[in-house]
Each structure stands twice: as structure tokens, then as C-alpha cells.
Symmetry: C2
Subunit: 261 residues, 2 copies
């Protein structure tokens, strides 16, 4: 039997705090103070049942709290572990700078290299479709669009799922409609087609994932997603692309530079 008392305290029966919360508090505290390290196995349910003298369901309730907070994850047949924080990818606000396109590098690859990771693209799908209300509005009431879907992985782990929408009258029959749009990505092609890019607008939300997103991004419980919607405008102030991106929040830090003017 593990000497749990050295790591975990006792329950306070006089407290009005629910038992399963007290247990969660102690575990959370122990993790925060490094008494359990990243990837380390927590005491098993049976051990905690014995240590605290409670029912197994109560211990499981505590675990499910911590799981909801993204602090731990359970592995069937093995145990409950402190969830390691994955390396984060930093997205700088200059990631679409023209100099990167002119070097023939796509934004994702540029970023991945600076992080020293191995990037992959996956589930590429290109279709012509009717845009939804929101996308159509952003594109200036354009309904017929080309949609480019793809999933990005870093060292084999899916981190991002993105869909680019482009007006059909711009993209149809161009390299943009091809699986590999060529060096510099679709933004480079747009400029070659005469749509010199002027600026981007990005909208950022954070929320819990839908079940579909959980599956696509293989998200652990308690990991939110960052939902980013980028609109690209050309120098004629026309919206030439809308990119809808869902990112695993534990894998990203976004970084922006704002002028003070």
C-alpha cells in the first residue's frame, strides 16, 4: 500500500464542502505543487477508496471533476495520470507576411519549422458548395464558393482543422482548386490572379468542442478549442477568402502586434 498520507491529507467531516470536492481539491493541490509530476500516475481508485474511507463512485466523481478541468486523463486498465502539457505552437501576427509567401513557404510550414516540429497535412478535401449564411455575408453575399478543407498535424498529433472559402468566380479553374496550389499557398496564387492582398481580419473565440471536433482533433476531455475566422481583403477592399479554423487550445498561443496609433 502506498503511503498516501504523506501526499494527501484527511477529509474534514465538519466542512460543508462536498467530499468529492475535498478530494479533488487535495489532488489538484498536490498536482499544482508538483507532488505529482506530469505524466505521473495518480493513486488508483481503490487506493483512494481505502485512504479516504469513501465509496468508489465518490472517488470517481472527484476524478471526473479534474478531468473536466483538463488536469488529468484516465487510461482504461492503466490508471489516472497527470496530463502533460503539450508543446505549444506560437502563431505570430506576421505569419502571413508577403516575404514568407515570396519564399514559397506556406504559413503553417513556416510556423512549424520555427517550433522545430514535424508538420503534416491530412484529410485534404476540395469542393464547390453553397456557402452558409455567415460565410456568404463575410464574402460580400457570395453564395457559390470553393471550399478547401484540411487537417494539420504536428508530430502526428492533430492540432488544427481548417476550411478556406473562396468565391467561385475567383478560384474556379485556377491552381487554388488543385490539391497542391503551389509554392506560397493560395495567398500567393490570389496575388498572381490580380488580387493583391491588403489586410486580414481575424475573429477569435474560445469554447468547448463539439463531439465532432473532439473526434477530429482527438481532444482530451477538458480541452477547449480556439475558433479563428480570418477574412482576407484585397486592395480593392473585396473579401477574397474566409478561413474558418478550429484549433486545439492546448497546442496554441496566438500572438499579435497592435500599433498604438
Amino acid at each position: 500500500m502506498t503511503s498516501l498520507p504523506g501526499v494527501l491529507g484527511d477529509l474534514d467531516p465538519t466542512s460543508d464542502r462536498a467530499v468529492f470536492r475535498q478530494i479533488a481539491d487535495q489532488l489538484r493541490d498536490a498536482i499544482a505543487h508538483g507532488r505529482f509530476r506530469e505524466g505521473e500516475k495518480l493513486p488508483s481508485e481503490a487506493e483512494l477508496v481505502e485512504h479516504y474511507g469513501v465509496s468508489r463512485m465518490t472517488v470517481r466523481h472527484s476524478f471526473s471533476l479534474l478531468q473536466g478541468e483538463g488536469l488529468v486523463h484516465a487510461e482504461h486498465g492503466k490508471g489516472v495520470f497527470v496530463r502533460p502539457r503539450p508543446p505549444v505552437r506560437r502563431l505570430a501576427s506576421d505569419r502571413f507576411a508577403r516575404r514568407h509567401r515570396e519564399q514559397g513557404r506556406s504559413a503553417f510550414l513556416v510556423e512549424a519549422d520555427t517550433a522545430g516540429s514535424h508538420p503534416t497535412v491530412d484529410r485534404l478535401e476540395i469542393r464547390e458548395e453553397k456557402a452558409g449564411q455567415d460565410i456568404a455575408t463575410r464574402l460580400g453575399s457570395v453564395r457559390r464558393v470553393l471550399a478547401r478543407r484540411r487537417r494539420y498535424l504536428l508530430d502526428g498529433r492533430p492540432v488544427e482543422f481548417a476550411t478556406s472559402y473562396l468565391p467561385l468566380d475567383i478560384a474556379r479553374g485556377t491552381p487554388i482548386a488543385e490539391p497542391n496550389p503551389g509554392p506560397g499557398g493560395i495567398y500567393a496564387r490570389l496575388e498572381e490572379l490580380g488580387h493583391r492582398l491588403d489586410h486580414f481580419e481575424e475573429e477569435i473565440r474560445a469554447r468547448m468542442p463539439t463531439p465532432t471536433e473532439t473526434k477530429t482533433l482527438q481532444l482530451a476531455p477538458g480541452v477547449p478549442v480556439i475558433h479563428l475566422i480570418r477574412t482576407a481583403y484585397d486592395t480593392g477592399d473585396r473579401a477574397v477568402e474566409v478561413c474558418d479554423t478550429v484549433m486545439a487550445a492546448d497546442a496554441y498561443v496566438l500572438s499579435y502586434q497592435l500599433p498604438a496609433t
Copy 2:
């Protein structure tokens, strides 16, 4: 008895999907399709127990799943309700523009007015303290700082908790150390003190809240937070302020403009 069969289907005993997941799926689907509207009460635990012929713990397990996704919230003694989406505050990237400061308005008030809401500031606390590792690094190895903490509320609901850190040698004895720093906020004061602002850098993360944050922001279960760290640089490229902000993710949309150059 409510005619649940009209809204919810039956279980599939042959499916290998766990019963509590099947129930959650059906409820999630019903909510997504508007068969239960925002704020509407879901069937009670007892009704679902009867409808599906399962134990109460199983129904509760389903509810706790949906709660973790932020889809529903339970009110003790009343029922389980579809969580209404609160109105979101849109933070534009020009919110620190000098023209706003020159009009004597703080960034928070400017934003709140455009949203037509009633803003409040709360729990103002100003202290001199020793900066943590991270803050010190961002401020250029400055350890002694003035910390300005405050909570922001919108129509009475807490939405944001922020701490500004400023080097003591800049802020001590100035209006910045006062509860009300005067028109235009601390950025206006910094410029008066000779630190003309050049640009800001913002770092954005999303994660689940700590228990402290849950309490401070009165967050419902299943609502992530947006963690924003802004560093302000003056024209001498010195970091003159670091602002650490935790926002209720369901109350915000961040918006940025990026140049394409």
C-alpha cells in the same frame, strides 16, 4: 407526464455506445435542433428515468456530460436548463487607439458603450509587489512593480479580471498609483510621463479556468477562459506595462486587423 417520445427517441440496446452517452447524444441533438430552446427546462431526472427505464445515476451522468460541454446548467431544486448564450463583447484591435485616449475614455468603457451595455469596475486593488518570473521577464528583468488589479462587470455580470504590472520606477507616486488614474486611463498617464506608446504585443491562450477563476468570474461549468497577456512598449522599445487578463470565453470575441505586408 410529458410526452417525451415526441422529442426523445429510444435507446439502442444493441449499440456498444454507453447508455449515458446515447442519452446525452439525444439531448444534445434535441438542443441543437431547437426542440429545446435557450433557457428552457429539460425533462427532470425522474422523467428521464421513467422514459428510458434506466437508473437515476445514469441520467445524471448524461447531464454531467452536457454540463461539461457547457450546453446545459443545473439549478438546485428547479431543474436542468439549456444554457443561454450571453451577449458577447467584441474587442476590436483599435481599442487602444490614441484617439480614444485623447477623448478621455478608457478602453473598457469605449467597448462597453458600443455594445450598449452597462459597465462596472470592481475589486480595485493597487499594491507594490515583487513580480513573478514571467512578468519580470516581460518587463525587462524588473522585479519591483506596481500591480493594479480590477474586475470588470457588464450589466452586473463579471466578465473579466485583469492585473496591470508597471515598473515601480515609472509608476510610483504618479496618478497611476491612484485608484482613479484620471481621464484616458493609465496609458494616457504613461504618455504624459514621457513614455509615448509605440505598440502593444498580445498573447492569447484558451484553457479551462482554475477554481479561483471560476469563483471570481462566476463561470458556469464548461465555460473556458481566454487568457490574454498584453505588453505595452514605448517608442524607446521599453516594456512599460504588462497586463494579464482572464476573460470569460463565452462573453468575448476578439478581433484583430493584420497588415498583409
